[in-house]
Symmetry: D2
Subunit: 349 residues, 4 copies
Amino acid sequence: MRKIEVGILGATGMVGQRFVSLLEHHPWFEVAWLAASERSAGRTYAEACNWRLREPLPKTARELPVEECKPGKAPQLVFASLDSKVAGEVEKEFAHAGHVVVSNSSNHRMDPDVPLLIPEVNPEHLALVRVQKHERKWKGMIVTNPNCTTVGLVMSLAPLEKTFGLEKVMMTSMQAVSGAGYPGLPVLDIIGNVIPFIGGEEEKVERETRKLLGKFVDGHVLMGDFAVSAHCNRVLVEDGHTESISVSLRTKATVEDLIEAWRKFHARPQELHLPSAPKHPIIVREERDRPQPKFDVWTENGMATVVGRVRPCPVLQFKYTALSHNTIRGAAGAALLNAELMKAEGYLD
Amino acid sequence: MRKIEVGILGATGMVGQRFVSLLEHHPWFEVAWLAASERSAGRTYAEACNWRLREPLPKTARELPVEECKPGKAPQLVFASLDSKVAGEVEKEFAHAGHVVVSNSSNHRMDPDVPLLIPEVNPEHLALVRVQKHERKWKGMIVTNPNCTTVGLVMSLAPLEKTFGLEKVMMTSMQAVSGAGYPGLPVLDIIGNVIPFIGGEEEKVERETRKLLGKFVDGHVLMGDFAVSAHCNRVLVEDGHTESISVSLRTKATVEDLIEAWRKFHARPQELHLPSAPKHPIIVREERDRPQPKFDVWTENGMATVVGRVRPCPVLQFKYTALSHNTIRGAAGAALLNAELMKAEGYLD
Amino acid sequence: MRKIEVGILGATGMVGQRFVSLLEHHPWFEVAWLAASERSAGRTYAEACNWRLREPLPKTARELPVEECKPGKAPQLVFASLDSKVAGEVEKEFAHAGHVVVSNSSNHRMDPDVPLLIPEVNPEHLALVRVQKHERKWKGMIVTNPNCTTVGLVMSLAPLEKTFGLEKVMMTSMQAVSGAGYPGLPVLDIIGNVIPFIGGEEEKVERETRKLLGKFVDGHVLMGDFAVSAHCNRVLVEDGHTESISVSLRTKATVEDLIEAWRKFHARPQELHLPSAPKHPIIVREERDRPQPKFDVWTENGMATVVGRVRPCPVLQFKYTALSHNTIRGAAGAALLNAELMKAEGYLD
Amino acid sequence: MRKIEVGILGATGMVGQRFVSLLEHHPWFEVAWLAASERSAGRTYAEACNWRLREPLPKTARELPVEECKPGKAPQLVFASLDSKVAGEVEKEFAHAGHVVVSNSSNHRMDPDVPLLIPEVNPEHLALVRVQKHERKWKGMIVTNPNCTTVGLVMSLAPLEKTFGLEKVMMTSMQAVSGAGYPGLPVLDIIGNVIPFIGGEEEKVERETRKLLGKFVDGHVLMGDFAVSAHCNRVLVEDGHTESISVSLRTKATVEDLIEAWRKFHARPQELHLPSAPKHPIIVREERDRPQPKFDVWTENGMATVVGRVRPCPVLQFKYTALSHNTIRGAAGAALLNAELMKAEGYLD
């Protein structure tokens, strides 16, 4: 099979770098086109990019020219991780011009006709793109993945919603600094510190969770019928968002039932053997002090959600800890898996 | 006024060192007697103690001999911060021998006849010591302060319980490493990490909170009639436990009502002008990203609880962040304030 | 004595904030005028300034207006901590207009007619300002303090140079992140890392050291006749530059001789009892593992240099560790002590 | 080829865990026997070991029994990483009983008849084991690798010594916390801190460097004829010792000459294609701010030494920064490469 050429909007940012890295040896896709802000345009990727990943800059990308963020020469499939100040308009422009925009930005996530997609959770929402085509007269489309804090929460909630029904969800996050991008947080802000505030994050988690777990009925997503409350905190961890979660369910269950629901959970990406799909989307650890970002964040190449410490909650019904890699499963890896699902389901034909 | 001589049980540990430091210039008390494990006994304090505080070892304590943990030569008033493996028996022995034991250890906190005391919250519980005298035939007594994670939570809850009545409390902590004592946590466990488990901590928070906010009726404490759920996590902060808290109240209130209840809160230690009492036991910060341990942990010399980010909670009714200094207000400072209350209320006569 | 009104150029930056904080209760000086970039001008200090110190913003400064960096309304004495991109010209403009500019910026440090001053080390260099007046026709003057890494090194070298003569100096620094200002270093650059490069720093240390320890002869400073080599590294410490130093001396000495030279060292600021002068400019620790920034950086309010681990060096003659507070003794405190010396020596009359 | 069975003395410690991990898929060796302290003996490895590596405990090792540290049932080849309190005697006992002990402990490193070995640097020193056999009447032998701080230094010095001759070496280390083992450093000792002392480390570096670069003449190692001075510091980095190094050489050279010497350096392990040998033992980075532990420590699977920032030194002749992975190349990987060399050179027949 010949590889599909892809482009990256916002290629020099942290998520853009992750796209370049994750796509280096991808079996289906290959990076053919990179775009970034005007400041970077006209230089090679190696020149324009302040490469900040531990793995070296792939040779195949070093000499690619960095273009402006304009459709035209870009391939059909474009991954997007632009700053939200410009992402809204640029993504629409690309979709209008016929590109399939697989975006990590927040701008269009809550648009009623834009799929907010986790392939294990709501693959059927992909069909929303037909509404886009019909209503917006776009030749292309926009598909989005959730916020990095939402992903781990929703991955852990999906089997509970399906098996028992959700009633209430309380989540307190301890988020890694890489979630703020680069340069992101000044070290003087976070050294020896916890910052109990991340702009817009709690609102995103609360509404995205309900869209992701919403039912797809008659071309619409009905927001999930449960309450979600998020407390978002930043801590001095490089990668991996840890979440303390409490839930109430609609049907009776035991701790063992929850564990079984998580362990049995596998879904469309696993059935389709998508290249970036974790073999087990949810890993349940039995040690009393896991998951921990230091040891568990790279589980299944950073694509699995790791849960542990499941126990009764005196206020809601159950409490547990979940961990997810915020720049892999929470950003570039999420978009990549979305694109793989779209390819496998025929949306790129 | 001549100062009251005091002793310290467990003087070489981290909390013991804090006692020595806080008592250095205390207007009422002076350190006259130090005791620690057999290994330390027989040496001077400077020799026996691996001093780990930033402030230097007080000269007055340097040359004091370290004794064994036996009553007899000890002063009437003894602060205790022994390892919980031995604290239970030693404290009883001292109380039996006539000493007033003001303890930071967890062993006797939930004994029905032992006051678990925060002077701003439940000063009336002190009267429990009469039950001790009567039932146990002790000539002395034991008084305890709560766990370092409980204090900040309960300080913030007390005005809410009094003003509106509490129904449900959910708390997720991000706790400082100093809470584990010295040597405590190996750096390899916590560098770049969050540890979502602290042995016994959640249970302590859940039951101590209900005892502290319980009513004192007929010589008994009735546990508070509300549900508490705690998630306890360790993060890479040196001092200061940050807590994400959600509550449901029994009567209608607004965000402004909560803020007013906190701002107006002042209590027995403030009325009595106890030397270690914070002028304002609760400080409400209005910035959207405070409190933060780096900037706020030393508020009122580490004796105040700082709250902020009060806002509606979609699952319970309100959510906010609280911060408290875990080795000051959560340990040595807590015991010291307890002793000051006891002195002012005549319990040391 | 009525206090002398002072101004601060670059008042909203990290060093500017330190000036405001250190001057809050100063016995001789009081802040009357604040200036910063055009972006800040026109607002009150509280509005314009993103206050990042742990100690709260002094009330006296909150409502002061922030002016543009133009002479005219500014007081005679002006502390300056401007970005080096603009500091060169602005400082000259102020000196020309008659202001006494006490600067922390690097621009004019190596000008032959500008004193690069550590009051304990080379107070006689102050006389250079007469050359400024004469040659440049300035009504005012510029006086500078050294780079934050140079100060601790030179403080520890000065008694050795005076007593034994210096021949060779090798210094490797482990510098705190606050030395890079705010926002300064992105946390992603320094978390779990050492950065073995700080732009321009090694050159500054090498040449400033030789100017500071140079002889003042006939209105000129003769650069010190010894070799200096610096390796500068950044580590994850908030405040305090730690330095591993090796030296060769011109006359025979023992480890004890060095310790005695440091202990006996006291100088002009101590004789004059300048308000910010440390009682002992150099503190020698005898523990085998000190100084350490965590425990020793605030020695003498951050104005002393702490040395320890003095021992023979197999390559040069002696090696030791020195520690100095980079934003106090290495920046705002340094300038303040310079101004105090100038006042005491009649340079402000 | 059938794999050679190996044993591990001290298998539950941090270096022991690294041995188990590095040997998991080794082409020549397989772990067949594990031993640790009496406390662990009698349990399975999974039970006895508090596994602290990020990579999971290999399945092949989980169920192996942990034995006492007695020869007899152990395989011929034994890797040793025992605590230095017991390593000296145990290693001798094993060598006497016929085992080939490839040790990471410091006890026998400076014994005149024990090879202190870096395969790229002094493979000819291996012949010393014949002296052991002859003088000590051992049926087996002991071979050691250097201290984790010595390795990176000596790897970078070896091409300089060979090409230009060494005269003087000054090294200041910034060492990772994993070098202290587990539990190792309490977090309270190192958070926000630099510790300018590591017991015995400077002496080890100074003498091991001269033995490693010494000539092997007539069955003896003549210590290298140059001076070495080490300053050793601990910083808050997990893995990777960073070293600021200055050198004087015996023959004239330029910065470019040094770079060429490093780039051309390859040695016996590369010729023999030993499985753990880095393809390039020394990597020269050209960026002005590298190497950095965060980005470079895993270069060549942690087996290469990375150097950079080569420039003239005003005191000696050249200065540069070197980085080496302290638990791979500085411990388990070093011993493993030693064993591979011994196998390839026929010492295991």
